[in-house]
């Protein structure tokens, strides 16, 4: 069973600029031109005012970890026999914790946790979401602890 690489899906959306930004080191939300609502993950269409216009808004600062997991049984696209590597995911199944941080403005960002072993994570700890370019040139989102 083959599935399309998710990155291709992002590139085939109206928010394809997100993936391009990530590769340049920018983590961005969308801001609705109509009502100013900020959305993450970014979206081209506003469900509040129905505007289809948006601008990019950088996500900066440190968030608070609200939950996390360490997935040991991977889905198909993380299986070792994967041939097509995904741009903002790790390409092999290597147990890295995944976390969800909440920023001060309430935006929530999912990413790979960097610099803290899973057993040392706790809800409420400070982590900073950042783009990260992997060895293969593809970009992902990581949640960095201090000193990472």
């Amino acid at each position: 069973m083959q599935f399309r690489d998710f990155s291709l899906l992002v590139r085939d959306t109206k928010v394809r600029g997100f993936a391009e930004g990530l590769e340049r080191g920018e983590l961005r939300a969308s801001r609705c031109v109509g009502c100013g609502a900020v959305h993450f993950p970014p979206r081209s269409d506003c469900p509040t005012c129905w505007s289809g216009e948006f601008t990019w808004e950088p996500i900066t600062g440190t968030g608070r970890l609200i939950t996390y997991t360490l997935i040991k049984v991977p889905p198909r696209h993380f299986a070792p026999d994967l041939t097509q590597r995904a741009p903002f995911s790790t390409y092999v199944y290597a147990p890295t914790a995944v976390g969800l941080v909440e920023m001060e403005d309430g935006l929530r960002v999912m990413g790979w946790v960097c610099g803290v072993a899973a057993q040392n994570l706790h809800v409420g700890m400070a982590l900073t979401p950042k783009p990260e370019v992997l060895d293969d040139g593809r970009a992902t989102i990581v949640l960095k602890s201090e000193g990472c």
Partner: protein
């Protein structure tokens, strides 16, 4: 409002059914349903079929396989889908079929053949029930989503991994008594606690089984139901709620908004409250899901789901017996079949026909709770004898 009754129930054996195709599994359930109702299929006017996944069945319109094999054509039939809650969508569509006056005898069938696909493939397809664009890329799987819910619940309320394991121990205890269950064996708390980690903090025994199977019920209008049998069970309350695609967009990660919405609708429609429920089947795709369901359904206050199961209050003899058929955990979870199988179980309980050791005494009001994905759809149905 016109009432809709359940006049027949049927259930295949759940498990790794390498011996049977999708259509043959459905046939097993339909045959036992038709036999139970003692009504010829020719009297049935319409059918709704739940099969969750085109990917798992490798086919579009898999419901046509069912209709053809039971010999239903040319009568009306269509498929209902909401991932793991597909079965309850079919029950709901069956109810609507009758309440609208379109038909007064409707067959509802749920079926799934999952074990032909590899575990990574099933994990992939199910994981994509969530936000495949923005969360699935981080390897988020079904267990991963519920692991995040568990971690948040543990942080907020102090829920423990032992309490999660207690759900598995309870459900396996009852599943062992259910001849249709996939895994008919009891497990110990130690065994559950020492099983390998699937998505931390969820271990193997926190996860439901990947199963093949089918279930069917026959629904009838009030007049027809009363003619067909002296003891129809009434589908008295229906609720359907929806929740965000992305887990990140849940205001409270420890609750499913869709369940709260669906439960409110169902209780109002049936004119009852959670305290009136004598027996419940809830969607324990993962042990944490059962604990969250207790709270969202109002069986206990927020944060007390862990202690509720730990103190045996959801066993027979406790405050509210839950999943005494083994649940998805031990009975198995052929996704499309599950919602229909839940209806079968509640009807069985209300008729007093459950197997020895797992019959809830004097059960007059039963509730089923069926979640699609990780809370994108939830159906709550209330069944009554009166």
């Amino acid at each position: 409002m016109a009432r809709v009754g359940v006049v027949g129930i049927g259930h295949s054996r759940f498990g790794i059914r390498e011996d049977a195709s999708l259509r043959e599994l459905a046939f097993e359930a339909v045959r036992s349903c038709i036999n139970d109702a003692d009504v010829p299929l020719s009297d049935v006017q319409s059918m709704v079929v739940a099969i969750a996944s085109d990917e798992l069945s490798y086919a579009l319109q898999p419901s046509a396989q069912v209709g053809d094999y039971i010999g239903f054509h040319p009568k009306p039939s269509f498929r209902a889908e909401a991932a793991c809650a597909s079965g309850s969508m079919a029950v709901r569509a069956g109810w609507m079929n009758i309440a609208s006056g379109l038909a007064d005898l409707v067959l509802v069938v749920g079926a799934e053949k999952m074990t032909e696909a590899s575990t990574p493939d099933v994990t992939e397809v199910l994981g994509r029930a969530g936000d495949f664009l923005w969360e699935h890329p981080f390897g988020m799987t079904f267990p991963g989503y519920y692991a995040m819910i568990a971690r948040a619940h543990m942080a907020k309320y102090g829920t423990t991994e032992e309490q999660l394991a207690a759900v598995a121990v309870k459900n396996h205890k009852y599943g062992a008594l259910n001849p249709n269950a996939h895994m008919r064996k009891e497990i110990t708390l130690e065994k559950a606690m020492s099983s390998f980690v699937v998505a931390d903090p969820l271990k193997l025994f926190d996860c439901c089984l990947v199963s093949d199977g089918a279930a069917a019920i026959l629904l009838a209008s009030e007049a027809v139901a009363k003619k067909l049998r002296p003891d129809p069970v009434w589908l008295s309350g229906l609720g359907l709620g929806t929740g965000s695609l992305a887990l990140a967009h849940r205001e409270d990660l420890t609750s499913l908004e869709a369940t709260v919405e669906a439960a409110g609708q169902a209780y109002r429609m049936a004119g009852i409250g959670p305290e009136d429920v004598d027996v419940a089947v809830v969607h324990d795709c993962f042990t944490i899901a059962e604990i969250v369901a207790y709270e969202d359904l109002g069986f206990c206050p927020r944060g007390e789901g862990g202690p509720l199961v730990e103190h045996g209050e959801t066993c027979i003899g406790g405050r509210i017996p839950v999943n005494v058929d083994g649940g998805l955990k031990s009975k198995g979870h052929p996704v499309g079949a599950t919602g229909v199988a839940m209806a079968v179980e509640i009807v069985k309980q209300l008729r007093g026909q459950a197997e020895e050791g797992r019959q809830v005494p004097q059960a007059d009001v039963g509730l089923s709770h069926n979640v699609g994905g990780n809370g994108q759809h939830t159906a709550v149905h209330i069944f009554t004898r009166a």
